[in-house]
C-alpha cells in the first residue's frame, strides 16, 4: 500500500461587508438609571460572539467598563435598522455605528462630569469606567455615577445614536467599474496531506493558517472563527455536497448519514497566526474575519493532493472515489 504525501498552498483575500455597500447599520446606546448602558442592535448572535465584540467596541468608545455594557440584539422592535448579520459585516458596519453612538455618549458624560467636577470638559479624561482631571488619575468619578447623575440631577438624557453605511457604488455595466468593498482582509493556508493510493482516502495532517484581520478586537473569538472555519473548509474539501452526482439530483442527501460531517477525532492539527494591519475604514481598524477563515482551506488541500499524486482534481469535494479515478487516468496516460 502506498501513501503519498503532498503540500499545497492557497493565498486569499476577503472583501469586508456587503458587495458594493449600501448596507446600513444603525444603533442606539441608552444609559440605564443605574448608569450602565444598553446597546441596541438588530444584528443577531449566531455564536460568533457579536454580543461580546460589540460590547468591547462600545466600552472603548464610551470609556465605560465592559461590565457596564449590555448588548441587546435581534429584535426589530428594540433596535433601529440593520441590514443583517452576514457578509462579515457586523464587526465592521455595526462596530462603526457603535463607535459613533459611543462617542456621543462619551461627550455627554464629559459634559456632565465637568459640571460635577467644575472643570472644563477638555481637561477631563475618560477610560475604563472612570473620569478624572487630566494629570490627577487618583481623583476620579465613575462613569456609572456620572451617567446616573446626568439623569437624576442634571436633567440630561444619556443617549447616543450611530449610523454607518458605505454609500452604494453604482456599477458601470460595460466595464464593471465600481468600488465593491470597504477593505480587504488577507489569509494564507498551507496544507499537508497524505493520500492512500489504494482507497483514494485523503488525510489532512496539518493546516498552517495565517489571517490578517485588520484588528483583532477579541483574539480569542478570532481564534474560534479560525479553527471553526478550518474544519468547515475541511468538510467542503473532502466530503460535503448535497448533490453527490451534481448536476443530477439523484442521491440528493437527506441526513447526516449521507452528508457526513467530521467529528472531534477527524480534525487535523491546526496551527494559526493572527496578523494585524488596521484599516482606516474599520472600527479601531477591524476587518471582517468570520467568513474568510473557511475559504482558503479547500484550495490548499486540493493543491496538496495535486502535489502528492500529480493530478489536479478540479471538482469539490475530492472524495476517495475522485482520487482513485484521477490516479487511474494518470496510470492510463503514462
Amino acid at each position: 500500500m502506498a501513501k503519498l504525501r503532498g503540500r499545497g498552498i492557497a493565498a486569499i483575500c476577503y472583501p469586508t461587508g456587503m458587495n458594493l455597500g449600501g448596507d446600513p447599520s444603525q444603533t442606539v446606546i441608552i444609559a440605564q438609571p443605574d448608569g450602565t448602558f444598553v446597546v441596541n442592535v438588530a444584528s443577531v448572535e449566531l455564536g460568533q460572539g457579536l454580543r461580546t465584540v460589540l460590547a468591547q467596541i462600545a466600552a472603548e468608545a464610551i470609556g465605560a467598563s465592559i461590565e457596564d455594557i449590555e448588548v441587546r440584539f435581534g429584535d426589530t422592535q428594540l433596535a433601529p435598522h440593520d441590514t443583517g448579520t452576514f457578509a462579515s459585516r457586523t464587526t465592521h458596519r455595526m462596530g462603526n455605528a457603535i463607535i459613533k453612538a459611543g462617542q456621543e455618549v462619551r461627550q455627554i458624560l464629559l459634559d456632565v462630569a465637568s459640571k460635577i467636577l467644575e472643570v472644563s470638559p477638555q481637561d477631563l479624561e475618560i477610560r475604563n469606567g472612570k473620569i478624572w482631571v487630566r494629570g490627577v488619575p487618583d481623583k476620579f468619578i465613575s462613569v456609572r455615577e456620572v451617567a446616573s447623575q446626568a439623569q437624576f440631577v442634571y436633567n440630561i438624557p444619556v443617549v447616543g445614536k450611530g449610523h454607518y453605511v458605505k454609500p452604494k457604488s453604482i456599477v458601470d455595466p460595460e466595464t464593471g467599474e465600481s468600488d465593491p468593498h470597504s477593505t480587504m482582509a488577507h489569509g494564507c493556508v498551507v496544507a499537508d496531506v497524505e493520500v492512500d493510493t489504494e482507497t483514494g482516502e485523503v488525510t489532512v495532517l496539518r493546516l498552517f493558517t495565517v489571517y490578517e484581520v485588520g484588528r483583532a478586537v477579541n483574539p480569542k473569538l478570532v481564534e474560534g472563527q479560525i479553527i471553526g472555519g478550518a474544519v468547515m473548509g475541511l468538510g467542503a474539501a473532502l466530503r460535503e455536497t448535497v448533490y453527490p452526482r451534481y448536476p443530477q439530483i439523484i442521491h440528493q442527501t437527506t441526513s447526516f448519514r449521507e452528508y457526513v460531517l467530521p467529528t472531534a477525532g477527524d480534525v487535523p492539527k491546526i496551527i494559526y497566526k493572527i496578523v494585524e494591519s488596521p484599516t482606516p475604514t474599520g472600527p479601531y481598524g477591524a476587518k471582517g474575519v468570520g467568513e474568510m477563515v473557511a475559504n482558503g482551506i479547500a484550495p490548499a488541500i486540493v493543491n496538496a493532493v495535486y502535489d502528492a499524486i500529480g493530478v489536479q482534481i478540479t471538482e469539490l469535494p475530492i472524495t476517495p472515489e475522485k482520487v482513485l479515478k484521477a490516479l487511474s487516468e494518470k496510470g492510463k496516460s503514462k
Binding site: 468591547q56 435581534g74 465600481s178 490578517e212 439530483i249 473557511a294 482558503g296 493543491n303
Partner: protein, 452 residues
C-alpha cells in the same frame, strides 16, 4: 499591538458561554404559546411540473387539522427576497399557483393542533402534478433548446438593467455581468503560455445544528410578532410585510440566540409561510423543519463553475485573464445576482492582472434555491483562483510561492473594477505563513513587500 486601547484587543470571554454550558440559552424552539398550532408542508415530489389538482378534503377531515393554506390565502404571493437592495423582478411564490419548480417546493401548508397531526394530514393531501422535463445542468439551461423556466424568457438573470441592484435602470441589460479592463485578447495573443482551467463547486449545505424554527403570533390590530432563526430580522420584516400587504412597522421580528447560521438563515425562506398561516388562523403557529428539510429545501451554497484562460509571460507574470462564471441559482432569484456580482468582480483574487474580461452568469435550474454561505462568492472564486494559480505555476515550471509573490497585488495598483488598491497585505501574510510552516524561501522573495 493594541496598547492604546483599554478593552479592544483583549481576549474577553464570550458573553454567551455561561448560558450555553448551563443549558439556559434560549433558542426559538424554546418559545411556545397557549393555543399554539403546528405546521407542515405538502411538498412537490418532482423537480418541475404543472399543478393540475390539489384535493385537501381528506386531510381536512382528520381530527386536529385546523386549516390548509394554499396560494389563494396569500395576499401578495409573488415576491423576491432581496427587494430591499433593489434586486428584481419578483419571481418566487410564497406558495405556487400553477407550477412547481423544484423537488420539495411547498405546495400547501397544513395547520393542526400538533406536529404529528400536521405531518399526517400533509400526507393525506392529494396533489396531481403533470411532470415536465426539468432543467438541471447550467450549460444546458443556457442553450436555446432548453425548456424555459423563467417568465422573462430565458434561464438567466438579466444584469445591467437596474434590476440587479448594482446598475442604473433604463438600459436593456444582458444575461451576464461583465468586468472588462485592458485588452485581454491582445494579452492572450502575446502571451508565452495560455493556461486553461475549469473548476466546479457543487451545492454545499450550511448544516447548523439548529434547524429552521419559526413561531408567528398574531397580535391585536393587524400586527404580528415573529420569533425566528434568522440572521437578518429586517429582511424578514420587509418580506413578510410585502406578502401580507401590511406596513412593516406592524411586524416585530425577534431572533433570540440562533444555533448557527453560516449564511443559511439569511433568506427569509419560511417565515412568510408561517406568517400567512398565523394571520389566517388568528393563532400562534410554529414550524420546525426536519433535518431532511434542512438538506433538501433550505438554501445551499450555489454550485459554481468557473473557467479561466490565463495569459502568462515566461518570466512568471499573469498578463491577462479571461473568465466565465456560472452560478446555479436554483429555481428562484433569492440573493443570487448579488452573489454573482461579488464573485465576478473579484476573479483576479488577490493578484494584479492588467487585462481582464470576466463574465458572470446567474443561471436558473429546477433545484432548491441557493443563496449565501460563509464567504458567498468569495469561497467560490478563491477556490478557482488558487487552483488556477497552481496550474499556471506548474505550466511555467515556477515554484508555487514565487508565482504568488510575483503576482500578488501591491498598494497603488488598480483592481479589475478600477478601484485603487490601498490595503494590500498579501505578501506580508504569505511571509508569515512561510515562517509558520517552516518553508525556506529565497531572499529576493522575502524582500518583497505590498508597497513596492
Amino acid at each position: 499591538m493594541s496598547e492604546q486601547f483599554s478593552i479592544v484587543g483583549k481576549p474577553i470571554m464570550n458573553a454567551q458561554l455561561l448560558g450555553h454550558v448551563t443549558g439556559s440559552t434560549q433558542y426559538v424552539d424554546e418559545i411556545s404559546f397557549p393555543g399554539m398550532l403546528w405546521m407542515k408542508a405538502v411538498r412537490s415530489p418532482v423537480p418541475r411540473g404543472k399543478i393540475r389538482r390539489i384535493d385537501t378534503s381528506k386531510a381536512e377531515k382528520l381530527p386536529g387539522v385546523v386549516r390548509i393554506i394554499t396560494a389563494k390565502d396569500v395576499p401578495n404571493n409573488i415576491h423576491v427576497n432581496m427587494a430591499a437592495i433593489g434586486i428584481g423582478p419578483p419571481d418566487e411564490p410564497v406558495l405556487p399557483e400553477d407550477e412547481v419548480n423544484y423537488k420539495g417546493e411547498a405546495i400547501c401548508l397544513v395547520v393542526a393542533k400538533d406536529e404529528e397531526t400536521a405531518a399526517k394530514a400533509a400526507e393525506m393531501v392529494e396533489v396531481e402534478i403533470e411532470e415536465l422535463p426539468p432543467v438541471l445542468d447550467m450549460e444546458e439551461a443556457l442553450k436555446p433548446s432548453a425548456p424555459v423556466i423563467k417568465k422573462w424568457g430565458m434561464n438567466a438573470f438579466i444584469f445591467g438593467s437596474g434590476m440587479d441592484g448594482a446598475t442604473r435602470p433604463g438600459r436593456p441589460g444582458r444575461p451576464l455581468f461583465l468586468v472588462k479592463r485592458g485588452e485581454v485578447e491582445i494579452a492572450l495573443k502575446q502571451a508565452d503560455y495560455v493556461v486553461e482551467g475549469s473548476y466546479l463547486i457543487p451545492p454545499i449545505e450550511h448544516a447548523p445544528i439548529e434547524p429552521h424554527v419559526c413561531v408567528a403570533k398574531p397580535e391585536p390590530g393587524q400586527r404580528l410578532t415573529i420569533y425566528t432563526t434568522t440572521q437578518a430580522p429586517y429582511f424578514v420584516r420587509d418580506n413578510v410585510a410585502t406578502i401580507l400587504n401590511i406596513p412593516p412597522s406592524n411586524i416585530r421580528v425577534v431572533a433570540p440566540a440562533v444555533g448557527g447560521g453560516f449564511g443559511g438563515k439569511v433568506d427569509p425562506e419560511f417565515e412568510m409561510q408561517v406568517a400567512v398561516a398565523a394571520m389566517c388562523v388568528g393563532r400562534p403557529v410554529k414550524w420546525r423543519w426536519t433535518r431532511e428539510e434542512e438538506f433538501t429545501i433550505s438554501t445551499t451554497r450555489p454550485a459554481v463553475k468557473i473557467e479561466f484562460q490565463d495569459a502568462l509571460s515566461k518570466d512568471g507574470l499573469i498578463l491577462g485573464r479571461k473568465a466565465r462564471l456560472l452560478h446555479d441559482s436554483g429555481a428562484y432569484t433569492r440573493t443570487s445576482p448579488y452573489g454573482v456580482i461579488k464573485a465576478t468582480v473579484n476573479l483576479s483574487g488577490p493578484y494584479y492582472i492588467p487585462n481582464v474580461h470576466y463574465e458572470g452568469y446567474c443561471v436558473y435550474t429546477n433545484r432548491q434555491p441557493s443563496s449565501a454561505m460563509r464567504g458567498y462568492g468569495v469561497f467560490e472564486f478563491s477556490y478557482a483562483v488558487e487552483l488556477q494559480m497552481e496550474r499556471d505555476a506548474k505550466k511555467l515550471g515556477i515554484d508555487s510561492w514565487e508565482f504568488r509573490f510575483k503576482n500578488a497585488y501591491r498598494n497603488g495598483q488598480v483592481s479589475a473594477t478600477g478601484k485603487l488598491i490601498d490595503d494590500a497585505y498579501l505578501i506580508e501574510v504569505m511571509k508569515e505563513a512561510v515562517a509558520l510552516a517552516g518553508v525556506s524561501l529565497p531572499n529576493h522573495l522575502l524582500q518583497m513587500s505590498s508597497w513596492g
